[in-house]
Amino acid sequence: MSAMQVLFLIFAAIILGSAIKVVTTKKMIHAAFWLIATLFGVAALYVLLSAGFLAMVQIVVYVGAVAILFIFAVMLTRKDLRDSAAPLNDRWTMAALFSALTFAGFVALLKNWSGFGKTPSADVPADMIERLGAALVSPDAYILPFEVASVLLLAALIGAVYVASDAAKNK
């Protein structure tokens, strides 16, 4: 068991434990915090996978923005359900069953795949981040998805602003 493997197991435990807490806590704000924990764990995993840039992006975007957004949302919707009721609804057994089956299905599927026991083959080139940047803006590469993604974000921005605006105040 190498050091990497131990680290991996620690991070995996963090991720999975936090995830389980996310879906089972009663108080919403706790769920949001547990999500932050999960996201941090995933970022650490990215570092393990030599995707440092992505780890940073994960923290900045997900933790810094998305999670905060969640906290805002929880705050704005707190009047009802003062986190006193049960967190899960009536069909949670069925849902648990389906989730378990899904997981089992995935694992069964993956187990029959030949490359299941692969180990990293090559090394990440040194100028990965440079290449990544160039690829994102190069017309031969991924400029188009990049631009479309930005348009999508613009649309989402406008849409979210409009939907969340107070219609009565704006009339």
Partner: protein, 724 residues
């Protein structure tokens, strides 16, 4: 204009007049009679031109005016129709043209043209008179104009067209066409005043009786056509054809084929010329206006029957050796002679002025038929022509008398008085002189007044022929009939014109207008002079002056003209005796006839008179034997067969269809199709819908659950089917 073209055009003016009046000038009386009279005048002019041209042709009998067109293609040959003017039709054209023209002219006055409209004249009834006021405010009733004036001219126009067609045709087919047109017109005209039930019935009677004759005539035509293949005179009357037809024996009453055809065609003439036994329609036909009676019963229609019989003389006489009559000829002679005597006996007991003339016509036609029957071809034609003149004259004269009497009726206002009854007349010679003298001439001609009247010459010729050829029964019958003819004619003249007026209405009669008296004068002229054209050369004295133009002209129509015969005094003396004797006795018997007196004949004959007065009850007999059974059969057929059986069958079809429909509807359509299939599927869908919609709860997590579940199933299925 070429004669042949002119011949084709003869029927055209009256036919056009018919159409023009019907389509255009119906409302305008003056225009209608102008169209009608000018059409009659035009055709008369054309007929005269043709007649005079024919006089100029040498041996006209061998070179008649003919023309034909190919009309109907029949396999290898054509059916040709055409025109033919030979001596016979030329002579007939002469009198047809003038009499038709005179009758048209007469009709203008007869229907009171120029008089005011009647007070309460109904369309379809004879006019009743109009009240007029003069300057003093004095009202009196005058004759009113006939409401259906234009219609009358249209009908007689069509009638004239039919007659002309018949005369000019060169084949029996177009002759039959003209025949039938006249039959139709006689129905229309006899029933002219259609609102009178008696007129309607008379029209139907005329049409049906002549129809019976026409059926036999058609049979004759069919027989002729099937054996000879043609209906043209040139073909069927040729020597070879007549020989061929005469040699075939039909096996019935000893008739040859020619004789059988002749008899069948003759029966058509029996109907059309009102010979016994189909005579019953003619007296009833007096219901029509007087010009109609003149037209139908003197000038045209009945003459058509005689004309046709004369035409087919070659068929009737096929095989005649000049002495013994063929069976066909015997039949014709018998019917003719019998009818002549039979009708004359009835005429002496008639009281209606037109009724006497009707029976007189039947009788005279019998003379002509008898003449043909004994082979006196030319005599028959001669009598046909002279009879047309004096009979038309007599009818128009009687119309004038009736008009005068009606004037009297309007004056006194006594509408129950019959203006046509001779017992109500008398003394009219003072009031209506022109009518009297012309009527007298006509009556004398009818009686055969010696030497100066045309009737004498034509009748005498028949007597002479009968006697000379030894047909004594015919001779005696005809002589008796001649005696009776003179008797009833003088009776009629005496009762109508001579003596004193028997009723106030007769006192107030007066002469009729020029449109009515002019034709009388014209016809009287011919009634006197025409006879002189046929004085036989053998006649003592006068014969030397005469060339007997008529005999030579008409006689040459036949291929072998009949020879003239020896003169004998006996027929001549018989003629003189019966004619003068009848006239004298008639005058003596009736000159003192007073109003309300019993008819002297009644006293003489007693119960026989009653029998004669009712026309030997022939009408009643026919009614019982034929009319009532026909009506009974048609009623039974209508009610029992048609309504009961046939309608019953049809109704049962309807009921059956209805029953089948109901069964299908109730047992199959409604329960199975409607309820089970139709409503059923709807029900099923509804049930499913009601149950299935519960799935849509609106909760997205439940949707997601279902989605994931199905996805898992699909994955498992895919995995096991594809991957494994």
């Amino acid at each position: 204009m070429a004669t042949e073209t002119l011949i084709w055009l003869l029927p055209l003016p009256p036919l056009l007049a018919f159409f023009i009046i019907v389509l255009f000038t119906n409302k305008n009386k003056k225009l209608s009679h102008i169209v009608g009279v000018s059409a009659a005048a035009l055709s008369w002019a054309g007929a005269m031109v043709i007649f005079f041209r024919s006089l100029g042709v040498e041996h006209f009998g061998e070179h008649p005016f003919t023309d034909s067109v190919k009309w109907l293609p029949l396999g290898n040959s054509w059916l040709e129709i055409g025109v033919r003017i030979d001596p016979l039709s030329a002579a007939v054209l002469f009198f047809v043209g003038i009499t038709i023209f005179m009758i048209f002219l007469y009709s203008v006055g007869y229907h009171n043209f120029g008089q005011p409209k009647g007070d309460h004249d109904k369309f379809g009834l004879p006019p009743h008179g109009a009240t007029v006021e003069d300057e003093n405010g004095h009202k009196h009733v005058v004759p009113s104009v006939e409401p259906m004036y234009s219609r009358f001219f249209a009908f007689i126009g069509l009638f004239a067209a039919g007659m002309y067609t018949l005369v000019i045709s060169d084949n029996l087919l177009t002759l039959f066409v003209g025949w039938e047109i006249m039959g139709l017109c006689s129905y229309l005209l006899i029933g002219f005043w259609f609102a009178k039930k008696s007129a309607r019935n008379a029209g139907i009677k005329a049409f049906i009786t002549t129809r019976i004759g026409d059926v036999f005539m058609l049979l004759g035509l069919a027989f002729l056509y099937s054996t000879t293949g043609s209906l043209q005179y040139e073909v069927i009357f040729s020597e070879e054809m007549i020989h061929a037809l005469a040699s075939v024996d039909v096996g019935f009453l000893g008739l040859s084929a020619a004789g059988a055809i002749g008899v069948l065609l003759f029966i058509g003439a029996v109907g059309k010329s009102a010979q016994w036994p189909l005579h019953v329609w003619l007296p009833d036909a007096m219901e029509g206006p007087t010009p109609v009676s003149a037209m139908i019963h003197a000038a045209t229609m009945v003459s058509a029957g005689v004309y046709m019989t004369i035409r087919i003389f070659p068929l009737l006489s096929a095989g005649w050796d000049g002495h013994t009559l063929t069976p066909a000829m015997s039949m014709v002679a018998f019917i003719g002679a019998f009818t002549a005597l039979f009708a004359a006996t009835i005429a002496i007991a008639q009281n209606d002025v037109k009724g006497v003339l009707a029976y007189s016509t039947i009788s005279q036609l019998g003379y002509m038929m008898a003449a043909i029957g004994i082979g006196a071809y030319v005599a028959a034609v001669f009598h046909l022509v002279t009879h047309a003149f004096f009979k038309a004259l007599l009818f128009l004269g009687s119309g004038s008398v009736i008009h005068g009497m009606e004037h009297g009726v309007l004056h006194t206002g006594n509408h129950d008085l019959d203006p046509q009854d001779m017992r109500n007349m008398g003394g009219l010679y003072k009031k209506m002189p022109v009518t009297f003298w012309t009527f007298l001439i006509g009556g004398f001609a009818l009686s055969g007044f010696p030497l100066v009247t045309a009737g004498f010459w034509s009748k005498d010729e028949i007597f002479a022929d009968a006697f000379a050829h030894g047909h004594l029964t015919v001779f005696i019958t005809l002589a008796l009939a001649a005696f009776l003819t003179a008797f009833y004619t003088m009776r009629q003249i005496t009762m109508t014109f001579l003596g004193e007026a028997r009723t106030p209405e007769a006192e107030h009669a007066h002469e009729t207008p020029w449109t009515m008296t002019t034709p009388l004068v014209v016809l009287a002229f011919f009634a006197v002079t025409y006879g002189w054209l046929g004085i036989p050369e053998e006649f003592p004295g006068l014969g030397a002056l005469s060339s007997n133009w008529f005999h030579h002209f008409v006689g040459h129509t036949l291929e072998h003209p009949l020879p003239t015969f020896e003169f004998s005094w006996i027929p001549l003396i018989t003629s003189f005796t019966v004619s003068l004797g009848g006239l004298g006795i008639g005058y003596l018997t009736y000159r003192n006839y007073k109003a309300g007196a019993v008819d002297p004949m009644k006293k003489l004959l007693g119960p026989v008179y009653h029998f004669i007065e009712n026309k030997y009850y022939f009408d009643e007999a026919y009614n019982y034997l034929f009319v009532k059974p026909a009506i009974w059969i048609s009623e039974v057929f209508t009610n029992k067969m048609d309504q009961g059986v046939i309608d019953g069958i049809l109704h049962s079809f309807g009921k059956a269809a209805f029953a089948i429909g109901t069964v299908i509807r109730e047992k199959f359509d409604k329960p199975v199709i409607n309820e089970f299939i139709g409503d059923g599927t709807a029900e099923v869908v509804q049930i499913f819908g009601r149950k299935l919609r519960k799935v849509q709860t609106g909760r997205i997590q439940e949707y997601m659950l279902s989605a994931v579940g199905v996805l898992l199933i699909i994955f498992v299925a895919l995995y096991y089917l594809v991957l494994a």
